[in-house]
Every structure is written in C-alpha cells, then in structure tokens.
C-alpha cells in the first residue's frame, strides 16, 4: 500500500506518458468511447477495467494505432499520434491470444521486431538472449510455439514486445487465456516484471480481482466513459456510484431516504431494513429527504447469535446498524464462508466471515435466526 502510494506520488511529479484528450470513437452509429480524457504517468501499472463492450479495448487499440479516434487526440510521451500507423508508435502490445507466430521458433518470434528494424545480427542475438532470460524462457529458445504451454506462450509474447524497449507496454486481457492457478502466479510475475523493466504497463481486463491485485491505478469504464478513476483501495472502499460498487467486489445495496443529515451524524431509513435504520458518524452526501443508496461490503458485516435485543454497535445509538434475518445458505470457500441472510423484507444479505480457526467457536447453521450488525463507518452512501 505504501509502495503503491509512493509510486503514484513519484509519477505525479512527471509529465504524463499517455494522454487521452476528449477521445470519442464511433463505429457507425455505435459510440464505443464517449469523451474520455485520461492521463497515465510514467511507471504506472494502469488498468482499464470494465464489462465487455465498455470501450476499454477500443481505448487500448487507439494507443497501439489499430484504431483512430473519431474526435480528440492521443498523446504518447507528449507527441500527438494522429494517424501514426502501429509500426511507427513507441508502444508494444501483448495480445489476448498472444498471437505468437506459429511458424517461427521462440527465438525468432522474440527477434522479429528487431529484425524488422534492421539491427545488426550480433545485437539482435544478445538482446534476444536478454529478453528470454527476463521471462525465464532461455532454455526453450529453439522450441516451436505448438510445443509450449499457454503460460510459456504468454512469456514469448511478453519478451517479443519488451525487446523493442517500448515506452509503454499494452496488455490486452493478458491472463484471461490461462487457467486459474497459473493466472494467480502470473499476476505476481507481471508486477515483478514491471518493476524490473520500469516501464509503464497498461492493461485491459474485465476481471476486477486481476485489476485490484496488479494495478497501481484503475479506470473503471462503463458505456464508453470512465465511471471512476483511482487506486484499487479507493475504488473498493470509496466507490463513486452503484455501478462501481457493484462491479468491484460484491456488495449489499439498500435503497433509502436520508432522514437526518448533520455535521457529524446522518441517519438513513431503508425500507428493507425496517424497523432499524442506518446511522453514520459523519455527514452524508445529499440533503435531508434525498433518495440515496447504502452499500455495505459483505466482510464488513458481523453475525451474532439470536437474542431478543439487537446487539449493541459501538458509537451508535441503539437499534441502528443492525438487521435480523434467517440464514438461507452457507457457501464454504475454505478461507472464508459466505452466509446468505434473508431479512424479513425478503432481501438477501451477503455476510462474509473469515474461517480463522479450524474449529468453529460460534456455530452458525442453515435456518438459524441471527442478528447482523455493522460499524457506522462501514456503509458507503451513494447518490447515483
């Protein structure tokens, strides 16, 4: 976390390596990217995150030069790219399918970009060796792509792009073609690699876990626009909209009315939680009477055994920030368990509890009536 903050701070001191300025991209009558402006700083591991069709890939392809913006401009290291073709841009890309050339062996694949540039043979050889060592593919230099595993093919694609020493490396869904276990390992390797080579990485992904795990900064995209821009913890803890709150991680959402909004206290009445209401130890966005949404993450909810009185929540008036319901389902995930608690209103609450000990001290079973509570600082109040 400190390291991330440090990196982001360092980056802010420099001028952006990538600038999107009022980018609009239309395909026929369809608007894929709708007035996006975005600066990406040198050394960032930046992620464009969003559901399919949100325009994230189009944005990346405009950087690579495979698409030209309908309006606005793309600047790479201060230079307006205009209609500069892909082969004349100082960026390289790792494709979703890796696009390793099947008729060339590993070394020839990696050497391709340098051969095209007409570098002397000795230099190509040395740099290929260096690039292969960087991704730990040295021993496989003579292999053909069809003799490689998915992970190894990805390394070839990485080496092939990095050998050109691009100012920015673009990664299109880099991990989506790998199986779950390998994906986890490659996340770590990708961020290690980025720190080692020290260039800006921009990744497109629809997988929020992936983006949270690797990226130093994330732009969440929705319908061609940026829904929110921030560090992973910003997005997770301070989502700006229901879309972001819902897209990043899982969330319990209640519609409600702001009935009291003071300087250091706010109360929100939610029909689904009645007769109890939500109490915040700080002011809420919007004015009294406004319609708002309350979002609470499952791991910020506590479970209590059934009792006649609601549990007391610290720093909170009684009968606030609690709910009563019945456990309808338990998903045991190993490291944690997810409890689906149905409230009397019918709404299901997701409560996540870490499985800290091997033997449950407090057992919660199917059909149990329980109390759910949360601290006043846990809910996020959203206006949109």
């Amino acid at each position: 976390m400190d390291q991330l903050a440090q990196r982001t701070q360092d980056a802010a001191a420099h001028k952006p390596i990538i600038s999107f300025r009022n980018i609009v991209k239309r395909f026929g009558s369809m608007t894929a990217v709708d007035n996006v402006s975005l600066d990406i700083m040198p050394g960032e591991f930046f992620a464009l995150l969003g559901p399919s069709g949100c325009g994230k890939t189009t944005l990346l392809r405009m950087l690579a030069g495979f698409e030209v913006p309908t309006e606005g401009s793309v600047l790479i290291d201060g230079q307006d790219m205009g209609e500069t073709p892909p082969n004349k841009r100082p960026v390289n890309m790792v494709f979703q399918s890796y696009a390793v050339f099947p008729h060339m062996n590993v070394a020839d694949n990696v050497a391709y970009g340098l051969k095209i540039d007409g570098l002397p043979k000795d230099e190509i050889k040395a740099r290929v060796q260096e690039a292969l060592d960087l991704v730990q593919l040295g021993p496989l230099a003579a292999r053909k792509p069809d003799q490689l595993s998915g992970g190894q093919r990805q390394r070839v694609a990485l080496a092939r792009a990095l050998i050109k020493r691009p100012k920015v490396l673009l990664l299109d869904e880099p991990l989506s073609a790998l199986d779950a276990k390998l994906r986890e390992a490659m996340r770590f390797e990708l961020s290690q690699l980025q720190q080692k080579v020290g260039i800006t990485f921009i990744m497109v992904t629809h997988d929020q876990d992936e983006a949270l795990a690797i990226a130093s900064r994330i732009a969440v995209m929705h319908k061609g626009a940026i829904a929110q821009l921030g560090t992973p913890s910003d997005l997770y803890e301070f989502p700006a909209s229901r879309f972001v709150a819902d897209f990043i991680g899982s969330v319990n959402m209640f519609e409600g009315t702001l009935i009291k909004d003071g300087a250091d206290e706010a109360v929100i009445a939610c029909p689904d939680l009645a007769p109890y209401s939500v109490h915040l130890p700080h002011s809420a966005p919007g004015s009294a009477g406004a319609s708002v949404w309350v979002a609470i993450r499952p791991e910020k909810l506590n479970l209590h055994k059934n009792a006649s009185e609601p549990p007391a929540v610290p720093d909170c008036p009684p009968a606030h920030n609690v709910a009563r319901g019945e456990i309808k389902e338990i998903s045991y995930l190993g490291d944690s368990s997810i409890f689906h608690v149905q409230l009397s209103s019918g709404q299901l609450l997701r409560v996540s509890r870490p499985n800290r000990s091997r033997y449950e001290q407090e057992h919660f079973g199917w059909g149990d009536t329980v109390w759910v509570s949360w601290a006043g600082s846990s809910p996020v109040v959203l206006l949109s």
């Binding site: 495979f66 082969n87 399918s97 694609a157 792009a161």
Partner: protein, 274 residues
C-alpha cells in the same frame, strides 16, 4: 463380446472387403495393363510377346511428341504460377474486404469449376477466334498464350477456394502483432499471412499443375497446329491405333504426375514437421 466387428468397422466386414477389392481392381488394373503393355514387344496391344524398351526409345526420338511434352510442361508451369498469384489474391480480397457485389463475385469465381468443360472449351474457341484472335505464328512460348489463359481461367478458382478455406483459420491478431512490432503492411503480409497460407498454396499449386497438365477438352479447342500439348498429341496418336508407343507415352505422364505429387507432399510434410 469377442470379435464381432462393430457396425462401422468396414475393414473387417467381408462384403466391404469384397467391395474394396472390386474398387481396386477396376481402378488399377487398367493402369497396370497400360503400363505393362508399354514394355510389350509387339505392334499390337493384345498378346504379350516379351519385354522391350523399344517404344520408349521411339518415344524419345519422336520430335513431335517431345515438343508436345515440352509444351505441356511449360503450360502447366506458367499456369500454376499465374493461378497461384491470382487465386491467392482473389482469396485474400474476398476474405479481408467487404465491397458491393461481393456475393456475385464470389459466385462467378466458382463458375469455371461447375461449368461443363466442353462448354468452356467451345467458349474459349469462339473467344480466341472471334473476340481476341490469338496469333498462332508467335515465337514459341508466346504461341502457348491462348492455352495458358484458358488454363489459368479454370485453375485459379481452385487455388482461390483452397486458400480461402485456409484463411478462415487465420488469427488476425498475428498480423496486428507483426504491425505492432514494426512491420509495414507488406512485411506483415510476407512474414505472417503468407506462411499461414503456405499449405494451401502448395495444395493449390499441386491442383493447378495436374489440372493443367492433363487437361484435354479445353486444350483441344484452344490449341492450334503448332501448339499441340501432350494429351492432345496422345489423342491424335490413338486415332490411328493404340500402339505400345501410346502406352509408353501415357506411362510417362503417369510417372511424371505421381512423382510431382509425391515430391510436393514430401515437401509439405517436411515444412509441417520442422
């Protein structure tokens, strides 16, 4: 449970074996007879009189036949090259671009494949005698022009079809990757698309060469007195009588075609495994 053949194990059902034997017999016995009798020491092709290579000697001394042979090889070679270029370009155009009347063009492309050869032949005859008269007194390779044009017109659609099918499996990201790594459009085409098309190009070349080499009908209508091809020459020899010389000539053609096929298949296997 033991050894009863499964319903689809054709090779173990006796009616199927009989059928197979029949097919082999009717397919290959004429060829074997033809080849065997090319070594027969007799003027007539009926009774075996002993082994001789006389007819092969005669064959190689038959200047007209040798010229026809050279014509055929030249035509097949030029036709193959032109068909490869035209067919590959047509396939790429139809695969990559969208344009008005694409469906019509795609349809007409396969027309030469479905139109009966005799119609093509007559059409070519009319075309080269009335519309674009091809002079018959040009110096040697140019005099074959009419035949080459006719052959290309029915060979290149085959190349286009094979290449088109191959292109369907091309991952366009590979071409983009090449562009991204600094290749111009042309370099990306050369380094990525052409290698991908290679098996189809080899198959297309093989098709064109053999189609052109043994085409008789269309060639018959487009060849002039000075531009006789091997099949046409053999036909004219047969009109007098089926001598062992004809057998020898046919055997030569078979051996040549089979050898070329084998060579290309070998090359293809090598390029696949390396």
């Amino acid at each position: 449970m033991s050894d009863r053949p499964a319903p689809l194990e054709y090779n173990r059902l006796w009616p199927m074996r009989l059928w197979l034997a029949g097919v082999f017999f009717f397919l290959y016995s004429p060829l074997i007879t033809l080849i065997a009798f090319s070594f027969n020491d007799s003027k007539r092709n009926i009774v075996w009189r002993g082994f001789t290579l006389d007819y092969y000697r005669k064959l190689f001394n038959n200047d007209e036949l040798m010229l026809a042979f050279a014509n055929s090889l030249t035509i097949a070679l030029v036709t193959t090259i032109l068909s490869l270029v035209l067919g590959a370009l047509a396939a790429i155009m139809l695969w990559r671009f969208r344009f008005p009347l694409k469906g019509v063009i795609e349809g007409t492309l396969s027309l030469p494949i479905v139109v009966p050869e005799i119609c093509m032949g007559v059409a070519m005859l009319l075309f080269f005698s009335r519309v674009v008269p091809w002079p018959h007194d040009l110096p040697w390779p140019l005099s074959l022009g009419a035949i080459i044009i006719a052959h290309v017109s029915f060979c290149f659609p085959f190349v286009a079809m094979v290449v088109r099918a191959r292109l369907a499996s091309f991952n366009k990201e590979q071409e983009e990757a090449a562009r991204d790594l600094g290749a111009s459009d042309w370099q990306a085409f050369r380094d990525v698309l052409v290698p991908h098309m290679k098996p189809a190009l080899i198959a297309g070349a093989l098709l064109s060469f053999t189609l052109s080499l043994d085409d008789f009908v269309i060639t018959f209508f487009t060849s002039g007195p000075n531009t006789v091809t091997f099949p046409v020459k053999v036909y004219s020899m047969v009109r007098f009588s089926v001598t062992p010389e004809v057998n020898a000539a046919s055997t030569m053609l078979i051996v040549l075609t089979v050898a070329l096929m084998a060579l290309m298949m070998l090359g293809q296997r090598k390029s696949n495994s390396s």
